[in-house]
Amino acid sequence: MNDSQKNINELPSKPLVWNDPKYRAMFFQILLISALAYFFYSIVQNTLDNMNARGVSTGFGFMSEPAGFDILQTLVPFDSTYSFGRSFIVGVLNTLLVTGLGILFATILGFLVGVARLSNNWLVSKIATVYIETFRNIPLLIQIIFWYSLIVGSLPAVRDSFSLFDSFFLNQRGINIPSPHYEDGFIYTLIALVIGLITSFIMKRWARKRQEATGQQFPVLLVALGLILLFPILVYFISGSPITWDVPKLGRFNLQGGATVIPELVGLLLALVIYTAAFIAEIVRSGIKAVSHGQSEAALSVGLTPAQNLKLVVIPQALRVIIPPLTSQYLNLFKNSSLAAAIGYPDLVAVFMGTTLNQTGQAVEIVAVTMGVYLLVSLLISMFMNWYNAKMSLVER
């Protein structure tokens, strides 16, 4: 036996404890946990001490106290006698309102610009490119302030409002529009709408089954449009037009009646839509380009019409690429709507983290709740995304 072999035989069969990856990992993780525990313990302790010293009480008791301030735009009834908890709900609803409208318009504009960028019309595609490169490289906050100040600065005072048909008014305080007032009979129209939706859904399943069985196609879209749009409209008129419109009237200094869209909402919405649409356009473009040309050629050569090719081959495949980044843009829009605070649109951050925090001084609770709302929505949407991705991903053999 020579020296080296002897050495190998003499090595311990197991590594030493401090060299064993298993024990090392355990040791390291215990260390990490205790460090974190100490960190959080000292933070909580310091916070309690500090709040005691400042005479701030902890807990959510303040939520039921009267708020004592008014809010510019409320979707549910609110005035200064309502509680802080109610102001929180007003803030959440306003955030959801601007997010919902923003997503709707940004999607439409983004798809238009994205398709325009792929257009073979040189001028149109160059304009789309310039649009994208300009607006996505300017900070959103600047755009929000810019549009808002443009709206407030360039529109006329109330008494000189622009008016359309004497029922729509545009002025410094926003847009005044007629607001609907529902009467009892309106319920029939709603019932008709629900019936239309359900029958279209059943019809779609039936049409697909029939196509798979016999190969015959059924004009689902047209019939569904008829069921969802025409049928409720018909019922609406038969039941005697049960909506009356509350039209705004121009008084000496004020507009009376109707509903007002405040300029803060318009400015914020405009900036969010223009900014997000620039990103959506790029997503749409790359999604459409990701469908290889061979797919269209194959579809046309098996005899599909160009419209069918687009509907059955290109769009489904492009959507697979488009939807994940599109959702993250929607999430961004939702989070970006918090910049409303800069121009005073009463969203969750402005109402709750701004006014309510200043009134009550309950910093920890309010910041935690506000962040919690955003976190909850973000996590819900990303859970939905994971589910959707798993459902839509290519199943390969």
Partner: protein, 373 residues
Amino acid sequence: MYVTDKILPELPAPSNSKGLIHWFKVNLFNGPFNTLFTLLAAFLLYKIIPPAIEWAFIDATWFADSSSECKLENGDRKDGACWAFITNRFDQIMYGFYPEEERWRPNLAGIMLVLLTIPLFFKKTPKKAWLGGFILVIFPFIAFVLIRGGYFGLEVVDTGKWGGLMLTLIISLVGILFALLFGTILALGRRSSMPIVKSLSVVFIEFWRGVPLITVLFMSSVMLPLFLPEGTTFDKLARAMIGIILFQSAYVAEVVRGGLQAIPKGQYEAAAAMGLSYWKSMFLVILPQAMKLVIPGLVNTFIALFKDTTLVLIIGLFDLLAIIENVLGSDNAWLGFHTEGLVFAAFVFWMFCFSLSRYSMALERQLDTGHRN
């Protein structure tokens, strides 16, 4: 039978299949719809561009000592832009309230940074890694001492006096530096085999990615003072920086994780088979490859961070936008030139972001080695 015995001379192509007319026909007027679109687009441009040029250049007032030169005799504004508002207050827009006689210090730091960075863009520079390390590790200290002062007889300039474009650049550069450091650690943590480390990293990353930056800034400005032992005061700028770094490192972590996942498993196995420890295999084998892959993504994260620095306006720091919006906007001598200020700020940000995004695209092409797995 006719057989030609001489070669015919080449004829020029028909006039409608080449040249400007052909190009117009193919690119602008092929078909009624496209013609309609072209005309609409041209009309739109006609409506926007000439008035914009007239406002921004032809009718503009470039230099003036007081705002009255931008106004008509009856006190109304002239039609054109009043860039004199910008040129007159240019120093403040660049440096905020930084004392005038000390401004050579941030200038020097800036020039040093530019001179040190330029060699990195040339392929032949020797010892690039050392130079890069110097910029990332040692230079920040030099810059801090220069700009803040307090050593070597330099007068202390409090962070409250920093402002303007200088502050915007400082926040974004320091932000990306630390975000890169923490983000890489977090990305490694998320890929770790240790369950507790992994889940902590996931929770940390998902938390910061799920909330808007403005709530983070609010948190760091109202809650951080509460977290610290009684009596400790904390610099306002440092508080904002902590918020931005925490927020941005989560985004950097996701970008770096993308790079780590793109490295084939064989690389990890080969490093382990060579007997490299975890840290050695990461620093010598995996990270150099992964980082190269994610440089474009990191540049995009930096662009986002750069645009996000404008949010410090809301917690009362005086970055470029805040100086224009809040300081100059309420300056009585120059009241009513809000639009010019915003357009200028937008232009400055646009220039930085656009050139960075072009750079990242060029880098992507350059680094694309054609390997696709």
